[in-house]
Symmetry: C2
Subunit: 324 residues, 2 copies
């Protein structure tokens, strides 16, 4: 896993993934107490950064394996990213999803042409389900984060941030990244180490699912006690990945943990100040930038909005509770 793989992924993604802008708002700067820059990956194809990793993985496969097809397990965003990337490569695709994933994500994944297999997040083992289907049908498994070509794809977002920060005259800043298994954060960390060494990744997680923050603090991989029960469905993974953790242990700053209410408040502010739709798990980094300023260093901070695939009902609730 190295920077050359990320640069190669960037070439394969060129013309297929969107280059998302770097946005800001004077109103958000005031709340954050510093200049706050937002990288809105909710505007990426399929509504999250996951399309980058999906395209990277599909485009790196041998043609014969790609023709047999791919399989992925996902709370929804990885599944959509892989589904669209597979469809555009003409590859069959099965997505294994938890039955409590937002309906919008399940529907979208099907509409993108994937066969969806549902499982019970609390009692079933998604790895076992995916492994069995994979063996039966000769499908290649595309893991959601602990997979080199997926990490390489997510890292392309870091290459863009390095360029965009330079254009804005930012040479030193924390880069807050919404963190589940760490694929996005570790890809970003490798990209920034190479192209913008003054920018440092800080993984952000929701309260109760702070396995990465605890693992970074202790130096060994720690697990979450719960496996479900958060609005931040996109980023509740059992534990950091075997590939992602060592990268982040070496390159990232301390993790930041936000409450679910802070994520919902950040969603309401992204609505009013950025005109963007963020999902709860995609808003935790923005929440950290806005409400955990004392944990952050420097005059600038960059926060990813990693995804926007939220059901209308949850979004309405966020606006009802925290909309101005």
């Amino acid at each position: 896993m190295n920077i050359d793989m990320i640069r190669a992924a960037q070439e394969r993604l060129d013309g297929h993934a969107r280059r998302t802008p770097l946005l800001n708002s004077p109103f958000l700067d005031e709340i954050a107490g510093r200049r706050l820059w937002i990288k809105p990956e909710c505007l990426q194809h399929t509504g999250s950064f996951k399309f980058r990793g999906g395209w990277s993985a599909l485009s790196a496969m041998e043609p014969e394996a790609r023709e047999r097809g791919v399989i992925a397990f996902s709370s929804g965003n990885h599944g959509q990213g892989v589904a669209l990337a597979a469809a555009r490569h003409g590859a069959p695709v099965v997505i294994v999803m938890p039955s409590d994933a937002p309906k919008l994500k399940i529907d979208n994944t099907r509409a993108l042409g994937a066969e969806v297999v549902l499982y019970d997040r609390a009692n079933e083992d998604r790895d076992a389900i995916a492994a069995q289907l994979s063996a039966e049908r000769g499908l290649t498994l595309i893991k959601p984060f602990d997979e080199p070509q997926v990490i390489a794809g997510q890292g392309t977002c870091g290459l863009e941030i390095a360029e965009q920060a330079k254009a804005e005259g930012i040479d030193k800043a924390d880069v807050l990244v919404c963190c589940g298994g760490g694929g996005f954060a570790s890809g970003m960390a490798l990209a920034l180490e190479a192209d913008a060494p003054g920018l440092r990744v800080r993984p952000v997680e929701p309260e109760g699912f702070d396995d990465m923050a605890r693992s970074l603090a202790s130096g060994v991989i720690e697990s979450n006690s719960r496996r479900a029960g958060s609005l931040c469905d996109a980023i509740i993974t059992p534990q950091p990945g075997d590939l992602t953790f060592p990268i982040l242990y070496q390159l990232a700053g301390p993790g930041i943990v936000v409450t679910e209410d802070e994520a919902l408040r950040a969603m309401a502010l992204a609505f009013s100040r950025l005109k963007l739709v963020a999902e709860p798990g995609g808003a935790v980094a923005l929440a950290a930038a806005l409400f955990h300023g004392s944990d952050i260093e420097g005059e600038d901070v960059i926060a990813t909005i990693s995804g926007g695939n939220v059901d209308a009902e949850v979004f309405r609730m966020a606006l009802e509770r925290f909309g101005a």
Copy 2:
């Protein structure tokens, strides 16, 4: 009023206004029945294309006049655009707003540093109020649409679309533009005539406020009977402008009229499919692309989302009624 003024405005806006992307979604293509491209000016500074015209006007002023200050009347978006452009030029600014404008727009305009003067949209004449304040304080009036440098600024969006359409291989398409007084539509029409003659502006208005569509059909300027009472507050103007109408009469295709419910449905789809916040008046062009396909020609259509400054309550209502 000519293309050179638009190119000059583009130079003055460079590095100050955002170049918004051109987005799409396979789900929206399916509803529209053709390839649908969206130009999201809700992502522009202050949440609408109006910042372009505001910056263009302020940056074109003589320094002495700019130091005395500017005044604008506005339902909210033009006011915010002028307020931010004035603040960044260090110019004093007064904004005259209808008392029934969305609270968010009034609050934002004040927070951007402007003095806000409210008036009753049904019974008071905003032109008279602005003219009096202008005379008393030596302020330069920046009209919302019938003003050459404002039209030039809005036209820069058309120059961007011309480039972006070419990059996507689109050489012939209707370009649907949310239309109030016609400043955005006429600037776009001039820009497209010069740089993308196969692209044709189609003004889009809400039912009951279709003065531009009727004027284009009859060949003379026609007025609306009502002056208030639409959720599409951003684009309910009494009648087309003396400068904007002749440009559109020469260059634009027929107007398209959508219902308020169609605008709300388009808002819900921009939420779920584009992760964008559109205001009702900013969603009428998308509504036309999605629900009035039989009025449109060609395999591609381009629709502006002209603004995203909507109160949380109205947005929640749109999602409650039309969110999947």
